[in-house]
Amino acid sequence: MSLFLIAALPFLGAVFPALLIRAGRNASSASAGATTFLALLGLLVNAPAVFRGEVVTARFDWLPGLGLNANFYLDGLGFLFAGLILGIGLLIILYARFYLSREDPMGQFYTYLLLFQGAMVGIVLSDNILLLLIFWELTSLSSFLLIGYWKHLPAGRQGARMALAVTGSGGLAMIAGMLILGNVVSSYDLTVILQNKELIQASPYYMPALILILLGAFTKSAQFPFHFWLPHAMAAPTPVSAYLHSATMVKAGLFLMARMWPVLAGTDAWFYIVATTGLITMVLGAVIALFKDDLKALLAFSTVSHLGLITMLLGFGTKIAAVVAVFHIINHATFKAALFMSAGIIDHETHTRDIKRLGGLRHLMPVTFVIATVAALSMAGIPPLNGFLSKEMMLEEAVHTTWLNSPYLVPGVVLIAALFSATYSFRFIAHVFLGPKRDDYPAKPHDPGVGMWLAPAILVTLVILIGLFSKAIVGPLVAVASGAVIGGGELPYYSLKIWHGFTPALYMSIVATVGAIVLLSVHGRFEQIWNAIPRPEAKVIFDAIIGGMTALSRKITEGLHNRSMARYSAIFVVFVVSLAGYAYYTGTDSVPTRIGIEPGIMPIIGWICLMGATICLVVFHHNRFVSLVLVGVVGLIISIGFNYLSAPDLALTQISVEVVTIILLLLALNFMPKETPWETTNERRFRDVIIAGISGLGVGGLIYALMMRDFAFPSISEFHLANSYKGGGGTNVVNVILVDFRGFDTFGEIIVLGIAALVIYALTEAVLGTRVRAHLLNRKPDMPQSGDAHPLMMVVVTRVMMPIALMVAAYIFFRGHNLPGGGFIAGLIAAIAFIMQYMASGFSWAAERQKVFYHGIIGSGVLIAAITGMGAWLNGKPFLTSAFGYIHWPPLEEFEWATAMGFDLGVFLAVVGAVMLALESLSRFAWQPGIASEHAMDINPARDDDEIDEKKEV
């Protein structure tokens, strides 16, 4: 199976659990399981190749300009991790089916889980570090959803936030590190990076890149001092903890270190940073774990400790240590996932995870007892279980490691960690299962159904089998995975077996085990001392840091934003003008190359009108009606100007839009104050005049300079003029550009227009759903009303006009391809024809006769345009390629058909629908009971407001 498919399957499958939950919980979990199984199968198909030492690849250039390619490759390391992710994922899906209760939204759970799974698989299969970073961030996001799955629990929400903050910020650091690395090698492909060890380690950017990448890895893998998020993430449901926090997500950091091992490891910096961090994390996690009473907290800190162990091994930088690290990754995943699931079972059956309230469960839950005990003994490192094997090998490596010339430091600290590790493992067994049976359990404990213990049982079987027959079962896997980590070359000699003879490691193991039993026997006393020592609480520190950052950003935001919109606009305008000024004073200027057109008397008159209207508009803008009239004047002159300057299409569009806009503003003004009060000070107005004046001067000067010079580069307009008739079959070049050359733009435009109209409709619905409706219903007109709402003359005239206006619209539409006109203009004219009816005969009268929803008209317009565009596919041409031809039916004139006409029809409909929907929505505000009349021409003799009031009171 292609690697693309393996990585994509979980994402594709994520849809099904959410949908199938309607068919029941079994269907939902089965779909999640089937998806995972399929992906696992796809992975296993590639197994023979991987074990032959081949590297399976799948390449796809996504954004080659950025170096971002969807390249995947599968080597031993990727195979090991992908196998862990998918295999344990399958077990978790089974376990979660029985763990989650009826109240939990299971569909959501599996969808999140599959998203996470896909992101994890993506990380381990990526061959491109940019792609890897995308998946890396996806795991942070999806784990946020999973940890916070129980939204009603504050601990869950806080834990999720903390995990996201820590791993997310680490991820950001890693992005920087990866980009540096990519720059040094000048490739973002991992396979290329991994072959450039000397180049990277010699680069001055090695240290920054190393530190930034390690920040990402350490935060993800909960290394000291970032370990604190992991215990808090235990608020997640146990399947999540078992999956994310034992086998997968926290191993992503380890994976990355292992992946980068060939190029980053081997330096002193790597050794001291990575090995020391791992060492500290290992011992710290082990010590804290011993004193945790919450089962999951104990396991969480033990995970921290084991992650530290693996980090330390990778940090040693020797090949043999890397092999041990790989082996321990497998072992840890098996026993820790089983332990988490056992803890979940205990929690599920006894309703508590507090060790102090448990004990004696071996009689009540024998199956769970066996599973948990085997797993815990493996964690403690007791032969012949798999944990013992990798721990022995680790101790062996630690003995040979010198830290700052001290041969005893590393083995000493590791011994302490091993001692505590064994102690908390024994405590897990002794204090939960052994001891006398109690009678104060919160619930009556008993073993769960097979569905719940099957998954951990399978893992525990593996724990035993790997322990006994390690070479046969995982030998080849460890070999290929380690081979990938150390990046080619001979594998060092190692032996996966229980008995290595009397070695220092064996003595250390014996000391740790015996010491653990002693330590556990005095655990009570020891715990009192531990609790008496003051310790820094990570959550308090974290909250303080986050609180401080929040306060700082709030301060900055509120310092810049004083909630004054006018101020933001002023800052924006001044900034843009300054930029333009900077460009003007630093740039070069050329001499004018064109000669202006001599203006005649008519343009000068028009100019005077325009300037006058604009100045009056500003001066009298406090009277809103006057300003509206003046806007109309400005728009009219501009449309005449367009016509004069050889743009008939623009003139037609401008004038029809003008009509619609003014009607819209008038309708809105009906509900708003008719005056704008004088509020600003003289200084403020003076300041605004200066800002406005300078921007006007700048824009005017710019366009003047532009018009007086020729094009700096040859224009593409020549192409359009030359091909309009030949290629598009129309002589009106503007229309051909709209429906043909730039048809895709136009398609987007009508969609935007339709969305705008729908937004207006939705806003109206939302506003009319609130108390505003009551307010509007009781609204009294604030101005004297016309006695005759629908004058006879106007009603008659508009009804006569309607067919004529529609005919004009049709005429404009059909001639559009060859003469000024087209769908946009025709649509506006048709809309105006309808609006006239609303205005003359009243909203209710017109609405009653309106049989088609405007939404539908918009939708059909967009659809017709789309279908016309897709028609080109039938001819094997790209979307929106137009075709045309000529038909001659005697005695008619020869006429032309063009598919562009269909597209223009879509434009027409979308424009009609959008304009009408917008205006209709607005006019619905005016609706009041009792104003609807059966007769369009109802004459109201009551011209006086007082009489209206009296009439209403009666």
Partner: protein
């Protein structure tokens, strides 16, 4: 001719900017409309001015044509600016009806959702 058009664009811009710096919704909307005019005419003028040369092909004679490309762009811009104006008007109206206040500045004590 060019100087007339340039001054007109400048005037429209200045008036538009002045009005969007006001404190009530209605003048701001009018200001935005004026700015749209200015921008549309500006874009149109980037094709340079021409008289009696509409970009409609003449089959019978070789005549000059004005630049069709800015015209096509501006045509859609005019229609879109109508859509934008309508949405802004609607938001302004809804805000006014909900709070009985058409100031564009957010006051200190009201949250975003009031």
């Amino acid at each position: 001719m060019e100087i007339l058009l340039a001054t007109a664009v400048g005037m429209l811009t200045a008036a538009g900017v002045y009005l969007i710096l006001r404190r009530r919704t209605f003048p701001v909307i009018v200001g935005i409309s004026l700015l749209s005019y200015a921008v549309n005419v500006f874009l149109f003028a980037t094709g340079r001015l021409a008289l009696n040369a509409p970009p409609v092909l003449n089959k019978y004679a070789d005549v000059p044509y004005s630049d069709p490309l800015p015209q096509a762009l501006v045509l859609t811009a005019i229609v879109i600016s109508f859509g934008m104006t309508a949405v802004v008007v609607m938001i302004a109206l809804s805000a006014y009806l909900s709070s009985q206040d058409d100031r564009i500045d957010m006051s200190e004590n009201t949250g975003d959702d009031v």
